[in-house]
Symmetry: D2
Subunit: 295 residues, 4 copies
C-alpha cells in the first residue's frame, strides 16, 4: 500500500500538488496555517491536523510548500517540529523556492534528528501542478531521493537531479526564476519599442513566439504582456521580487555581480512602490510603458 | 522563365542566400566590393559584374545584403546607382539589418526613380541561409511585396508581413536581435551563478533547454555559452554592438529608454575594449565570468 | 585699440558672453539665425550682420556659441562660410559643447583655409557668463590660444589649458557635464531615500551642502532638487540628454563602457517621454520620486 | 568633573575617537574584542575592562563603534549586556553605520531597561577623528541628545540633529556613504574617458577639484583615483559594499529603487570577486579601467 505522506502549505501551488498526490493514491495528512485553505484537500480525501508537527509519522515523509526561507525555518526548526516527529529515517521534501544557504542550514539541523532533507523546487504554475506537469529539480542524499522519486513522479512531467549538495536544486530554481524575470523585461522593452514605432504589440509577440522563441514561456508571457493582462496573478509581483532578491543574495554570497538581476530588482520595486505588488510578476512590463510616456 | 535578379553583398549571409536563389532557378547578376568573394556564387552559376549598378536591369529586382546603414546608403543613394538603373517598376529588396529611419529615407529617395523599396530583414545564421530556413520579415508596398514573395519563399521557412510602413520590418528585426542579445546576457549570468555555487554550467544549460526554454535559441546558445566556445564567430560581437546600438538609437528617436539594451551596450563595449570584437556575440558571456573573478 | 571680433550664436549663453566682450571694450559684429535675438547685443553696441560669414574680417577672430555639432558644422563648413572669410591668420574660437571628433574634423577643414581652431568650451550658466565668472577650457594651437587668451580672460574667472590636441577641451567639457548629471542623479536618489524614511529633503540637502559636499554644484542643485523647482530651465533637459549622449558616443568611439552614463541616458529619455524636455536638467530627479510611488 | 564614559570598539575609527575623548578630559573604560587593540587607548589613560558590559556604570553613558548591525546587536542585545548594566537613566551613543531598522529595534529593547539610544553616526576618516574634525549626525530622544552633546562636540567640527525618530541619523549616514560611493564611480568613469582620449587623469581631476567640484571629497578622491592609489585602505572596499547594501536594503524596505546604488553594488562585488576587498573603496575605480581594456 502507498505510503502516508505529510503535507504542509496548501496555498496556490501546494493545494494542487497535494491533490495530485491524493489522486495518485497517497494518503495525506495536511496542515495549513489558515485552516480553511485545507478544506479543498480534505474534500479530496486528506486528513487535516491541528498542529503542523502532526502531519509526520516516525520515519515517514513530509512535503513542505511554503512562501519563503523564514516560513520554512519557522516550521521546520522550531521545538517540537515535524522534523523531530519524523526522527530517524524520516525525509523532508522541500518544494519551496528558498536560498541554498537556508537549505544547507536546514539540512544540517535535520541531520541531528537523522532526518534527510531533499531539496525539490518545482517549475510550473498552479495549472501545471494540477495537470501533474511540473518540472522538478532535486538535490540531497541519494538514498532519500531514491525513496521519494516515485512520489515526485506523480506530480511532474520530469525530474532532474543535481547531485548530493543539498542547495544545488535551489540554485537551479533561482537561476530559472531569474531567467523568466529577464524574459519578462526583454519582451517588455521589445514590445514597447515596437509600439512606439507604430507596430502592434501582439503581432510582434506572436511572431517571436512562432519563430525564434517558439517555447511556452515566450508564447504565454508574450501574449499576456502584449495584452497588458496582469490580473489575476498566476505568480505575484511580490513573490517575483523575493525570487530576484534570492538571486542577488546568492550571487552576493558567492561574490559575483548580476547586473541584469539588479535591473530586475529595480523594476520590481518600482512596480510595488506604485501599488502593483499583487499583480502577476509580468506586470513589471508596465514600467517600460510608463517610462516611454505611454501610461 | 524565372526572373533575373541582381544581388549586391556576398558576405557571410549574402553568399548562401544567393546560392539558394541560384538553386531555386533564378539567374543572378552579383556584385561584391571585394571581388574575390563573388567567386563562390559565380562557380554556382551567377554572373559577376564590375560595377554595382550593373546588377540591375530596368524594371527588375535587386537584393542587397550589406553591413550597415551607411553601406546601403553608399550603394543605393550614389549617383548612377542600381536604383537609377532599375527605374520605373523596379524593386529593391533590402535584407540588411538597418534602422527604420534609414529605410524610410531610402524608400523616399527610391520613389523619385519610381523604384519600390521592400524591407526584408532575415533571422537565421549562415547555416539557416544555406538550408533555406531563414525567417523573413517584410514591410513596404503591397504590390512590390507580392511580386518578390515567391523569391523570398525560396530562401525561407516562413515570411511574416508587418504592413506598408517601410521601416516596420526593420523594427521587428531590431527587436529580435535585442531579444537574442538579452538572452545571451540572461544565460550568462545564470550559468555563472550556477558555477559559483558548485554546479556544472552545461548541466544547468541543458536542463533549461529541455524544460522552460525548449527552443533552439536557448538550446544552441546555452550549450555554447556553457562551453565558452566563441570562435569562430557565427555573428560577430562587433556586429552585435551595431545592432544593440540600432535598438538604442531607434528607442531614443522614439523617446523611450531601454535599460536592458543599455546594459547590453556596456557589455559589448567592454568585450570589444578587451579585444574580443571578432568573437561570436555570445562572447559577452566572458564578462560575467570575469566580473565574478573566474577568468 | 581692441580687436574687432565676430560672434555667432546669441542664445542663452551666447548673449551674456557677447555682452561681457562688449563691456571689456571689444568691437563686436554679431549674427544669430533668429535675428531678433541679436537685438540685446546691438543695444549694447554690437553691429548685427545679415549673413553669418559677414561677422568675419580677414585674419581676425570669430567666436561661435551654437547648440550642437551639426549647428557648428553647418555654419563653419558651408561654402562661403566665415572660415573662408577669415582666411590666413584667422582664429575660430569655438565655445560650444561638441564632440572631440567634430572638433578635429572642423580643425582639419579650417587648416585648409589657414584658419586656427581653438576649442574653448565653458562651464557656468547664464548668470556666470553675465558676471564674467565662467570657467574656460582650451585646446588647440599654442599661438592661436596665446592670441585669444586676453579675450577669454574678459569672460572668465579662470582658463585651463589642455594642450594642442584640438579635441581635448571638449573631452573635459563632456566629462564635466557627465559629472554634473551624475551628481543630479546621486542627489535625487539620496533625497528620495531620506523622504521615504521620514526625513525632510531640504534638511538633508542642506546638511550635505554644508559638510561633505560644500561646493556650489551640490549646494545650488541640492536646494533645487529638494524643492523640485525645475522651471524655468537654466539648462534644459533636452540639452542635458545631448551632452550625456556626447559622453556615450565619445566613450563608444574610444571603446569603453560608461554604465553610469547609460543610466543617465535612460533617466533623461524617460523624462522627455513624459513631456519634461524643457524643464531644467535637474528635472530627471522627478523619475526617482515617481519610481518610489511618490508622484 | 567630567563624566566617566564607556567605549566599545577600538578599531580604525574607534581608537582615535576614544583618544579625542580622553584628551578632552573624559575618563574612559574601554573594551575591544581583540584585547590588544585597547592598548593604545590604555596608554593614553583609558581603563580596559575584560567584559564588554563592564564599561558601563549605572545611569552612565556608553559609546559603541562597531563594524555592522550584527556586531552592535550581539553586544547590546545579549543577556548581561552593558545596556542592562546602564539601566535607568543610561544612554547608549551608537556611532556605527547601521540600518535605521536595527536602530529602531535596539532603541525599543533599550527602553525596556530605561536606557536611551542615541544614533550618532559620524562622517570622516581616521585622520578627521584624530583631529576632532568629524561631522556628527544625531537622532533620538531630545533629553539624551542634550546630555551627550558636549561629549560629541569634543570629537567633531559640527553636530547636525535630525529629530527624535531614532533611525533618522542612520538614514542620513547611509545617504552620505551612497553619495560618496557615487562620486567615486562618477570620477572613475570621467577619468577613464579622459585617459582614453589622450588626456592626463590627474590634470582632469585637478581641474574639477579647483572649479566645479571644489570640495574636499572631490579633491582628495580625485587625486587618489587619478593616481590609482588604493592601498592602504582608509575605508575598505568590503565595508563600502556593506554600506551600499544598507542603502539598497533601506530603499527596498521603503519601496523605492535606487538604480545607481544597484550599479555601485555590482561594482563593489566585482572588485571583491577579483580579490580587492581590502583595498580602499575608491578601488572600484579599477573596474572602469578594466572594462576599458586598460588593465
Amino acid at each position: 500500500m502507498a505510503e502516508s505522506i505529510g503535507f504542509i502549505g496548501l496555498g496556490t501551488m501546494g493545494e494542487p500538488i497535494a491533490a495530485s498526490l491524493i489522486q495518485a493514491g497517497y494518503s495525506l495528512k495536511v496542515y495549513n496555517r489558515t485552516a480553511s485553505k485545507a478544506e479543498p484537500s480534505v474534500a479530496k480525501g486528506a486528513t487535516a491536523v491541528k498542529h503542523h508537527a502532526d502531519v509526520a509519522t516516525p520515519g515517514g515523509i513530509v512535503f513542505t510548500m511554503l512562501a519563503d526561507d523564514r516560513a520554512v525555518e519557522e516550521i521546520a526548526d522550531s521545538h517540537g517540529s515535524f522534523v523531530e516527529r519524523l526522527g530517524s529515517g524520516g525525509v523532508h521534501v522541500s518544494l519551496s523556492t528558498i536560498s541554498p544557504s537556508t537549505a544547507s542550514r536546514l539540512s544540517a539541523n535535520h541531520a541531528r534528528h537523522k532526518v534527510a532533507y531533499v531539496a525539490s523546487p518545482v517549475f510550473g504554475r498552479a495549472e501545471a501542478a494540477a495537470a501533474r506537469k511540473l518540472w522538478v529539480c532535486t538535490s540531497g542524499s541519494a538514498a532519500a531521493k531514491q525513496r521519494v522519486r516515485p512520489i515526485l513522479e506523480a506530480i511532474s512531467q520530469g525530474i532532474f537531479d543535481f547531485g548530493e549538495d543539498v542547495g544545488a536544486a535551489n540554485v537551479v530554481k533561482i537561476c530559472g526564476n531569474f531567467m523568466i524575470a529577464s524574459t519578462i523585461e526583454t519582451i517588455s522593452e521589445a514590445l514597447v519599442l515596437a509600439q512606439k514605432n507604430g507596430l502592434s504589440r501582439s503581432d510582434v509577440a506572436e511572431f517571436f513566439g512562432k519563430t525564434l522563441f517558439a517555447c511556452p514561456i515566450y508564447q504565454s508571457y508574450g501574449k499576456k504582456i502584449a495584452a497588458q493582462e496582469f490580473e489575476p496573478a498566476g505568480f505575484s509581483l511580490k513573490l517575483g521580487l523575493k525570487d530576484v532578491n534570492l538571486a542577488i543574495q546568492t550571487a552576493t554570497a558567492s561574490s559575483m555581480p548580476m547586473p541584469l538581476a539588479s535591473l530586475l530588482h529595480d523594476r520590481f520595486i518600482a512596480s510595488i512602490a506604485r501599488g502593483r505588488g499583487n499583480w502577476d510578476w509580468m506586470g513589471i512590463a508596465t514600467n517600460a510603458l510608463e517610462d516611454a510616456g505611454l501610461q
